[in-house]
C-alpha cells in the first residue's frame, strides 16, 4: 500500500509541475502582451502630449503677437521708435512680444526662441511636454514706408514639441514639428474706422444729453472721451468693449434726479446690456483719444486734386499725358446751396462702378473700368472721354470723391470690388439707402467682400435726410470730425423705424436720431449699428483718418491660427 501512495504522489507532482509551467508561461506572455499594449497606448499618449504642446504654443504665439505686442505698440507715439528696428526685426519681437512678468524671446543669430512652460497635467498622466519651443526667424528684411508711417516685418515661425511618457525607462518620446509658417506684422498708425461708435463729446453740439435706450444697439468697440448716458431697463445693448474717459456714467433715473455713478447700471432702473452680465467690458476712466488725425482735410483735398489748382465744377484731374492722377474733385461756392452736388453711387451694366454727380443742374457721370484701369468721364462741356488710370487719389489707396462744398444728397450702391471714400468740406445728407453691392443680409455683414465706403464731413455734419425711407440702410463708416451724425427733423413726425448701419460712426458730438418717452419711440429712428469687423484686420476706407497712436495687424489674418506642415520627427 505504501508503494501505491508513492505513485499517486508522484503523478500529482508531475501534474502540478506541468500545470504550473503552463500557467507561468501563459502569465509571462500576458505580461509581455500587457507591456506591448501599454507601449502602444503610451506612444499614442506621448504623441497627443506633443500635439497638446503645439496647440499651447500656438495659443501663446497668438497672445504674444496679437495682444501683448499690440498693446505695447499702441503706446508708441513716434514712428522713429519703430524705425529703430529697421534692421533688427527679431529684436522687435524680443522687446515687444511679452506681457509684464513673462519671459521674453531670446535672440541668437537669426532666431528668436521661446520655451513654453508646460501646463500642469493631471496626476494620472505619466508624462509632460516640457520641451515645446517657438522659433521665429526673419523671412526678409523689414520694409519701411516712412512717409506713410507704415512698417512691415516679415517672419516665419516654427513650433517643436516633445511629448514624454515617463512610466517606463527609457521614457517614451514623440516629437511633433509644425513648420514653416510665414506671417507679416504690419505696424501703422491706428485708424478711427476701428470704432463702431466714437464721440469726442457725448452730447449734442448744444450740450443736450442724448440717451442710450433700448432702441440703441451696438456691435463693435464703443468709446467716448466724455461719459455715456443710459436710460431705461433694458437700455442700450453692446456686444463689444465700451469705454469712456470719465469715471462716472450718466443715468436717466426715470427722469428724476439724474445720477452720475461709477457703475455699469443704476440698480434696476437704468440697465444697459453689456456683453458680460456684470458689465466687465464697460471701462471707465480710460485715456482720451485725440480726434485730431494725422491725416487732415487738406491732405485729402490734395489727394483728390493731385495738387492741381482747379476751379468750380466737377473734375477728374489728369496729368500732362491725360492720365488720371487724382480722385474725383467737386468744387462749389461755400454757403450757396444751389450748387451743392447730389451724388449717386451706382454700378453700370458691365458691373463697373459709376458715379453720377448732379451739380447746378448739370449731370456728370464717372465710370471706372477697374479691369482695364481706365476711367470714362462724361461732362456737359467736353462730352464723353476715356482716360488711362482710375480716380483712386494720388496715393492709389482707393476711389476718392472730394467735395469742397456741402453734399446735398448721397445714395446708391457701392460696387462689389470697390473701396471708396466720399469726403466733404461741409455737411453731407444721406437721402436714400446706401448699400454695398455684395453683403450678407442675415446676420448683416460684408466679411467676405471687398466693397467698403467711408463718408467724411470735415467741418459739418452727416445727417439722414427727410427723403430717406423708414428703416433706412446705410453701409458705411461715417466720420464728422467737427460735427455729428444725426437725423434731419428727428424731433418731428412719426417714428421712422430703425436706421441700420453696417460700419461705424466717429463724431465730435453725439447726434440725436429721435425722441422717446418711457422707452418708446416718439419720432425719428432707432439705431441698430452693426460693426464691420474687417476694420480690425486693417481694412479701412481709403484715406480714412488715422489716429496718433500706432497699432499692428497680422497678414494673412489667419496666419497664427491655421496649421500647415505637420511633421512627426522620427526616433
Amino acid at each position: 500500500m505504501r508503494g501505491k501512495k508513492g505513485i499517486l504522489l508522484l503523478v500529482s507532482a508531475v501534474v502540478m509541475t506541468v500545470v504550473s509551467v503552463l500557467a507561468g508561461v501563459y502569465l509571462s506572455s500576458l505580461v509581455v502582451e500587457k507591456r506591448s499594449s501599454d507601449t502602444d497606448r503610451l506612444a499614442g499618449q506621448s504623441l497627443n502630449l506633443a500635439e497638446a504642446g503645439v496647440n499651447q504654443a500656438m495659443a501663446e504665439l497668438r497672445k504674444r503677437i496679437g495682444t501683448d505686442l499690440r498693446l505695447k505698440v499702441e503706446a508708441i507715439q513716434n514712428a522713429s521708435t519703430v524705425n529703430a528696428y529697421a534692421s533688427n526685426s527679431l529684436g522687435f519681437i524680443r522687446d515687444y512680444a511679452y506681457a509684464s512678468g513673462e519671459p521674453q524671446f531670446t535672440v541668437s543669430g537669426n532666431k528668436a526662441t521661446l520655451t513654453i512652460t508646460p501646463v500642469i497635467l493631471n496626476s494620472d498622466v505619466d508624462g509632460d511636454f516640457e520641451q515645446t519651443t517657438i522659433t521665429i526667424t526673419s523671412a526678409a528684411a523689414p520694409s519701411m514706408d516712412l512717409s506713410n508711417e507704415l512698417f512691415y516685418f516679415y517672419y516665419t515661425y516654427e513650433i517643436e514639441s516633445k511629448g514624454r511618457i515617463t512610466r517606463y525607462t527609457p521614457a517614451l518620446e514623440k516629437t511633433v514639428v509644425l513648420a514653416p509658417n510665414d506671417f507679416t506684422l504690419v505696424v501703422r498708425r491706428d485708424n478711427f474706422a476701428k470704432f463702431a461708435l466714437f464721440t469726442n463729446h457725448h452730447t449734442t453740439g448744444t450740450g443736450t444729453t442724448v440717451w442710450f435706450t433700448s432702441n440703441t444697439n451696438f456691435s463693435g468697440p464703443v468709446h467716448t472721451n466724455d461719459r455715456f448716458s443710459f436710460a431705461s431697463n433694458p437700455s442700450a445693448s453692446f456686444t463689444d468693449a465700451v469705454s469712456q474717459h470719465k469715471n462716472t456714467a450718466r443715468f436717466y433715473n426715470d427722469g428724476h434726479n439724474i445720477l452720475y455713478l461709477d457703475d455699469y447700471c443704476n440698480g434696476e432702473i437704468d440697465v444697459p446690456q453689456f456683453s458680460t452680465p456684470a458689465g466687465e467690458t464697460f471701462y471707465r476712466g480710460e485715456s482720451i483719444i485725440n480726434l485730431e488725425s494725422s491725416l487732415n482735410q487738406q491732405d485729402l483735398e490734395d489727394e483728390a486734386t493731385a495738387g492741381q489748382n482747379l476751379g468750380s465744377g466737377v473734375f477728374v484731374p489728369l496729368d500732362a499725358s491725360n492720365n488720371v492722377v487724382g480722385g474725383i474733385y467737386v468744387n462749389g461756392s461755400l454757403g450757396t446751396s444751389s450748387d451743392n452736388p447730389v451724388i449717386t453711387l451706382g454700378v453700370d451694366a458691365g458691373n463697373n462702378p459709376q458715379y453720377t454727380i448732379v451739380r447746378d443742374s448739370n449731370t456728370y457721370v464717372v465710370t471706372v473700368d477697374l479691369a482695364n484701369n481706365q476711367t470714362t468721364f462724361a461732362d456737359p462741356v467736353n462730352g464723353t472721354n476715356t482716360y488711362p488710370g482710375i480716380p483712386n487719389g494720388a496715393g492709389d489707396e482707393g476711389i476718392l470723391i472730394y467735395v469742397d462744398d456741402d453734399i446735398a444728397g448721397i445714395s446708391g450702391v457701392v460696387q462689389s470690388a470697390t473701396r471708396m471714400t466720399v469726403a466733404s468740406r461741409r455737411n453731407v445728407v444721406i437721402k436714400d439707402n446706401i448699400t454695398y453691392q455684395s453683403y450678407t443680409a442675415s446676420p448683416l455683414n460684408a466679411d467676405d467682400y471687398q466693397n467698403m465706403l467711408g463718408i467724411i464731413s470735415w467741418e459739418g455734419n452727416v445727417s439722414i435726410g427727410t427723403t430717406a425711407p423708414d428703416n433706412v440702410n446705410i453701409h458705411a463708416i461715417i466720420m464728422a470730425q467737427h460735427g455729428i451724425f444725426t437725423v434731419d427733423n428727428y424731433q418731428s413726425g412719426s417714428p421712422r423705424g430703425t436706421a441700420i448701419l453696417l460700419g461705424g460712426v466717429i463724431t465730435d458730438y453725439y447726434g440725436p436720431f429721435g425722441t422717446f418717452a418711457g422707452g418708446s419711440a416718439l419720432s425719428g429712428y432707432g439705431r441698430n449699428f452693426v460693426y464691420d469687423p474687417r476694420v480690425q484686420n486693417g481694412t479701412t476706407p481709403p484715406y480714412f483718418p488715422y489716429m496718433t497712436s500706432f497699432t499692428t495687424f497680422i497678414e494673412p489674418t489667419d496666419a497664427l491660427y491655421k496649421k500647415t506642415v505637420w511633421r512627426q520627427k522620427e526616433g
Partner: protein
C-alpha cells in the same frame, strides 16, 4: 512472510492497470484542455497584437497626409475604393531632417490581396509592395465626416479631414479594432516642382 504474499493476482494487476488508465486519461484531458485554452489565449493575443500593429501602421501613415494635395492645379486626393478595402493617399517627403520644406509626395496604398483575402498589402511610391499582415480577416476605410454617418464616404475633404479605419483579425475568434484618424497636413501650398513618387500605371 510466505511465498504466496510475494506477488499480485491477475485481478490486482488488472485493477491497478484500470486505475492508472483512468488517472492517465484524466491527466491527458487536463493537459489537452490546458493546451486548448493556451492556444486560444495565444491566438487571442496574436489577434489583438496583429490588429494593433496593422492599425498603428495605417494610422501612422494616414495622419501625415492631406485630404487633397494640389500641385499646379493637379489634385492628389485621399481615395477609397474597392468596396472600402483600398485606400490611396499621399505622404509628404521633406527636404531633410531639419528642413520641413516639402519636396515631394509619395503615394501610399493599402489594399487586400485579391488572391488571398487575409493578406493586407502596402505599397509606398515605387518601392516593392509589402505584406503587412497575413491574418487580416477584413479591413475597411471610410470618410468620417458628419454627413458620412455610416462611414461610407469614399472621398475625404478639407472641411472634415478624418478617415475611419476598421481592422478585423482572426485566428479563432474575430478581434476588431477601430480608429478615426485626423489628417494633419493642411493649408499647404506645394511648389510647382514638387516631385510625385507613385507606381507606374497599372503596377498596383
Amino acid at each position: 512472510m510466505t511465498e504466496k504474499n510475494s506477488g499480485f493476482t491477475l485481478i490486482e494487476v488488472l485493477v491497478v492497470v484500470a486505475l492508472f488508465s483512468v488517472l492517465f486519461l484524466a491527466l491527458l484531458a487536463v493537459l489537452t484542455n490546458a493546451d486548448l485554452y493556451w492556444s486560444k489565449g495565444q491566438n487571442k493575443l496574436n489577434e489583438q497584437q496583429e490588429a494593433r500593429r496593422v492599425i498603428s501602421g495605417v494610422v501612422n501613415d494616414l495622419r501625415r497626409s492631406n485630404p487633397n494635395w494640389d500641385i499646379s492645379g493637379t489634385e492628389y486626393p485621399v481615395a477609397i475604393s474597392e468596396n472600402y478595402t483600398r485606400i490611396d493617399f499621399y505622404q509628404p517627403v521633406f527636404y531633410n531632417e531639419t528642413d520641413s520644406t516639402i519636396t515631394g509626395l509619395t503615394k501610399i496604398t493599402y489594399k487586400i490581396d485579391t488572391t488571398d483575402v487575409r493578406k493586407l498589402l502596402r505599397k509606398s511610391g515605387s518601392d516593392p509592395e509589402e505584406i503587412i499582415s497575413n491574418a487580416t480577416e477584413s479591413i475597411r476605410f471610410g470618410g468620417a465626416c458628419p454627413d458620412c454617418s455610416t462611414y461610407n464616404c469614399t472621398a475625404v475633404n478639407a472641411a472634415c479631414p478624418v478617415v475611419r479605419v476598421e481592422v478585423v483579425t482572426k485566428e479563432d475568434n474575430e478581434f476588431e479594432l477601430v480608429s478615426d484618424v485626423a489628417l494633419r497636413n493642411m493649408n499647404i501650398t506645394l511648389a510647382n516642382d514638387t516631385e510625385v513618387i507613385e507606381p507606374e500605371e497599372g503596377e498596383f
